[in-house]
């Protein structure tokens, strides 16, 4: 499978960016890290908007940067969604959308105008000027504008960061749709774990201008040696498919690796691919499966590791569930009472499962 190869070195006053990574050319890769970790600078290097001291970038067979050679930004087949939409204030929405589209040869257009405005739900806004749009609408137009250049790679720089919570939840479904309907690889800069677990498949974890780690999303989320597992909302995301619906109890059953989970009824076709998030604090552990309990979702799991959590009363237990990893946050006291040990097989009871998409 072809991949995206990147390595950049850039010095700006006291900040040094020094990264090298390989990511797949499919799905969403999140560049994740705290502010100041160099995520945006890295994205700008990929776009050719920053001049690195040294750099290499290739997507499949297309080399954009190598040694002294640097393809100018306007010749790179990329789409860039800026943090603050960056629409042209002197042009209507329609003309903003056509700005990039008209520079693409008709034969090279993979995304058509009508498809883009339908996908982003902006067909009613085309006559307006950017100043007449809400923040969320502006960002949707910006995404459509970038898509209309039929890019080989879509770069998104915290597209939700400048929006209020309401506009954020307005855009997220569009981003998920984008991910499902288009085959364009996306590099998505974010410092919000919530966004990342919803849309990313792959993750590059950044800190102080360096790559800490990169890999499939759930692998990094459940790595107890990385900071993500120690967040308040530490969680695992698990892929699954819709198995069946139970109209009597209003439940939908999902098949996941290592078992089946029930979630509140969602009108999705059987076989539809979904992602669920399981928060570490919603996973409790039991030695026996049969105890009567209000919890429906119970799976056999193997304990992979037990490490202290940031809260001294608690520990993080990493679990293996048929090849998929889960985290459980329980108290030290419970570990001792249950006499838990690494490699032991026990039962995970999951209080709540959130269907992400």
């Amino acid at each position: 499978m072809s991949s995206i190869n990147a390595s950049f070195r850039l010095t700006r006053q006291s900040f040094v960016l020094d990264v090298a990574f390989n990511i797949p050319t499919r799905g969403v890769t999140a560049l994740f890290g705290s502010s100041g970790s160099g995520k945006t600078t890295l994205l700008r290097c990929i776009a050719g908007l920053e001049k690195p001291d040294q750099g290499y970038f290739a997507i499949g067979d297309h080399v954009w940067q190598k040694g002294q050679f640097s393809l100018p930004t306007h010749q790179r087949a990329l789409g860039y969604v800026f943090q603050d939409s960056n629409l042209f204030s002197h042009l209507t929405v329609e003309k903003n959308l056509h700005y990039g589209l008209k520079r693409i040869a008709p034969s090279a257009r993979k995304i058509l105008y009508d498809d883009a405005i339908r996908l982003l739900g902006i067909h009613q806004l085309t006559d307006r000027y950017p100043a007449e749009l809400s923040g969320g609408q502006r960002q949707r137009v910006a995404i459509a504008r970038a898509l209309l250049t039929s890019p080989d790679l879509l770069l998104m720089d915290e597209p939700l960061a400048s929006l209020d919570i309401k506009s954020r939840s307005e855009i997220l479904p569009y981003l998920e749709k984008l991910h499902l309907e288009l085959k364009i690889p996306i590099i998505y800069v974010s410092h919000s774990p919530d966004e990342v677990v919803r849309i990313a498949d792959h993750m590059v974890l950044m800190d102080h201008g360096k790559v800490l780690e990169e890999g499939p999303i759930n692998e990094l989320l459940t790595r107890t040696d990385l900071p993500l597992a120690h967040l308040d909302e530490s969680c695992a995301v698990v892929e699954g498919v819709v198995k069946e619906h139970d109209s009597h109890y209003h439940l939908t059953y999902l098949d996941i690796k290592g078992g089946q989970v029930a979630v509140s009824f969602r009108d999705l076709p059987i076989g539809h691919r979904v992602r669920v998030r399981i928060l570490a604090r919603d996973v409790s552990l039991a030695l026996q499966p049969g105890q009567k309990s209000s919890i429906t979702n119970v799976f056999p799991v193997r304990i992979e590791s037990i490490i202290p959590a940031s809260d001294p009363a608690k520990v993080l237990v990493k679990l293996d569930m048929g090849g998929e990893h889960l985290l459980s946050q329980i108290t030290h006291r419970s570990v001792d009472i249950l006499n838990l040990e690494v490699d032991q097989t026990i039962y995970a009871q999951v209080k709540s499962v959130a269907l992400m998409r």
Partner: protein, 253 residues
């Protein structure tokens, strides 16, 4: 109210009285200096736009050490007395000046005391007035929209014409108005470099000066009053333009 006949020897009162003669004066007015001024201002403004726009672009977006030197040089006409500027221009363009010799050798004659000479002097004299608004406009636009255009496949030239110029339109308009008005009001430099050759270098301001010298206050009044009204209208329009631009500014993201 009773009307007191003015004291003939009081020149101030005499000049006020002469306002009543305006219609008569208008009939016999030598309009050549007016048209010459308008022509000079128009030619200068067009050339100024063509020169100041790229310079402003470069100053706004280039990281260069000589940037501050260039800025300082281009602002010199703001602080130098016009006579100093005119004096150096005369030395430069005159028969023995380096540019004068060059133009003479090219068969163009010397530019001092000619209309093209005035145009050159006016461009230098009015340069900061055209440069500043354009520079401010480019700086206000910033890199962001240009970077967005680059990611949308626009070449540098396309970015300049489809993004920078339209967004800088208010600044460009200000530059036109300021450049034109400032050239219309030019006096010291012109007197030094152009003298007062009717139809060639005798512009409005010089004509007024000569009328005052010759104590032809009524004629001076007509031209000066015209200039006063013209200048006021220009500044008023500029203000209108700016306040409309502010009102049209998009709400911040």
């Amino acid at each position: 109210m009773g009307y007191t006949p003015p004291d003939i020897n009081d020149s101030t009162l005499e000049s006020i009285l002469s306002l009543t003669e305006i219609p008569i004066i208008l009939g016999s007015l030598d309009t050549a200096p007016i048209w010459l001024s308008v022509k000079l201002a128009t030619v200068t403004t067009v050339l100024l736009l063509l020169i100041a726009t790229p310079v402003a672009w470069w100053l706004a977006f280039a990281h260069h050490r000589v940037k501050s030197v260039i800025t300082a040089v281009s602002m010199l006409p703001l602080v130098l007395p016009p006579s100093v500027l005119g004096f150096y221009m005369l030395l430069l363009l005159g028969t023995n000046g380096p540019l004068g010799r060059l133009t003479a050798e090219l068969g163009l004659g010397t530019l001092a005391f000619t209309f093209p000479g005035l145009v050159i002097a006016s461009i230098i004299y009015s340069f900061p007035f055209a440069l500043q608004p354009i520079l401010n406009a480019f700086e206000a636009i910033g890199r962001a929209p240009l970077e967005a255009a680059a990611t949308l496949r626009a070449s540098p030239l396309a970015r300049f014409f489809t993004i920078a110029i339209p967004l800088a339109k208010p600044g460009l308009l200000s530059a036109v108005v300021m450049g034109f008005a400032h050239t219309m009001g030019e006096f010291g430099v012109i007197l030094m470099i152009g003298g007062s050759i009717p139809g060639e270098t005798k512009v409005l301001s010089v004509a007024i000066y000569e009328q005052v010298e010759a104590l032809q206050y009524s004629e001076a009044h007509v031209l000066s009053g015209g200039m006063l009204v013209f200048s006021f209208v220009v500044l008023w329009l500029l203000h209108q333009l700016n306040s409309r631009r502010n009102a049209m500014k998009p709400v911040s993201n």
